[in-house]
């Protein structure tokens, strides 16, 4: 697509960078992104390293694999041991370490039946092909992924499949942002809002954050120019003292989001509490099966429960996810914990902050 080329044009990027420098005169901007794809895009494009020192980039809890809680990992690993269960999952979860050091990959090596799928829809075929087994799809992901799982559950009901279940581990972004902002230690001064989550939820859910906490927030795309424009808009709003939510990714995100996807989402699910790695329970930040779809709830139908479990020893993913600790400050970073031998989920996932820091060999002092 030719329009993408102009979003990578070095001269245009330099022009926006110059405007950021001008807008930053006499002020600071500690902005947080909350999308794993933004994390990677900021590093890979070099934008992170080009920003003036007064702009501090914090990585937030935007990697769906990373925010999946130890208790959730323990629950699906327990289920994977059952003879009558086939786990269907996105590949991202395969290497995530559980509290006892296990993982889906290890479970598979020990004989557990696990199918990696590209789409939740593909898990329906697994259910049809294995009528004598219970197929459990691991429903991770934010508001972008949750509707794809909801649409799949709906199809399962339409097709009368009684051996397909979902473990709803989904997380909702706005309540997490609210939780982060209500912690004064965070000192966040701007949010780069996720592009594809916003394509579903629209701008409305973010508006209370801008109004309640006075934080400028910009929905951003993933090209270098998208990222720079979002930072410029945040800096400019802060300078003018006019915090609001701006949609700078209109080629993909409609201000009203995607009402049809939301209707399907809230037909199958209803809001509930959710556990976040490093943060704990955030009220109303998760999704549970609605009454009409209860038979598809793996927790209910298969008698699984979330249990308290010990956190991974030494792993500081929780603090990394909250933006309190840069990955290279974790004592395990690049020593015991590397992409080849990951200890925590932020190093396992390609979208995790630790993996991104490691891959791009950043020489980062705290706060930059």
């Amino acid at each position: 697509m030719s329009s993408f080329d102009s979003l990578r044009d070095p001269d245009k990027c330099k022009a926006v960078l110059k405007l950021i420098e001008e807008a930053m005169q006499g002020q600071t901007l500690r902005f947080m992104e909350v999308c794993g794809t933004h994390t990677v895009a900021l590093f890979r494009s070099g934008v992170h390293s080009l920003l003036p020192k007064s702009v501090v980039h914090l990585t937030g809890p935007g990697c769906p694999v990373c925010v999946t809680h130890d208790s959730e990992v323990a629950a699906y690993l327990e289920l994977a041991k059952r003879d009558d269960v086939i786990i269907a999952t996105f590949g991202d979860l395969m290497r995530v370490p559980g509290p006892g050091g296990g993982s889906l990959k290890k479970a598979q090596a020990e004989g557990a039946r696990i199918e990696v799928v590209y789409s939740p829809f593909d898990a329906l075929a697994v259910a049809k092909n294995n009528p004598g087994d219970k197929i459990v799809f691991l429903g991770i992901g934010f508001e972008t992924t949750a509707p794809t799982v909801a649409a799949t559950v709906r199809l399962a009901k339409e097709q009368g499949l009684s051996n397909f279940f979902v473990m709803p581990f989904h997380k909702l972004v706005p309540p997490a942002l609210d939780a982060l902002l209500s912690d004064p230690a965070m000192a966040i001064e701007g949010f780069m809002l996720p592009g594809h989550v916003s394509a579903i939820i629209g701008l409305e859910p973010y508006r209370p954050l801008a109004e309640k906490y006075g934080i400028p927030a910009v929905v951003a795309g993933f090209e270098p120019l998208d990222l720079l424009q979002a930072i410029l808009l945040m800096a400019e709003m802060k300078r003018q003292g006019k915090p609001r939510v701006i949609n700078n990714y209109k080629r993909v995100v409609a201000d009203e989001g995607n009402p049809k996807a939301r209707a399907i989402l809230y037909e199958v699910y209803k809001p509930g509490d959710a556990l976040w790695r490093g943060i704990g329970t955030i009220p109303g930040s998760g999704l549970v099966m609605s009454d009409a779809y209860k038979p598809f709830d793996a927790f209910d139908a298969l008698g699984v429960e979330l249990k308290e479990c010990k956190p991974l020893p030494g792993c500081r993913c929780g603090e990394v996810l909250k933006g309190i600790m840069p990955p290279n400050q974790c004592p395990l970073f690049a020593k015991a914990c590397t992409p080849a031998t990951p200890i925590g989920p932020c190093m396992v996932s390609t979208e995790g902050s630790c993996a991104a820091y490691h891959k791009y060999q950043l020489d980062l002092s705290p706060g930059k």
């Binding site: 405007l19 769906p64 829809f121 972008t144 509707p147 594809h196 424009q229 209109k250 995607n258 996807a261």
Partner: protein, 75 residues
Amino acid sequence: MCLAVPMEVKHIDGDVADVEIGGVRKQIRLDLIADRPQVGEYVIIHAGFAIRTLNKEEAMETIKIFQEGWNLELI
């Protein structure tokens, strides 16, 4: 896993479409979008489902903000 990519619609059959990018062809579902794309339009795909038809007019609106606010020629 939150990577969503724009792909060109090649063929539509009910709730299923064939889409393509850079020679890679995929079959995806259209359950989640109200604005049905035409063949030749682009959709954003996430986990096997189209989540949004790309909108050039709205994209131009953003570009206008930068042209008017900072005199930046982005096209």
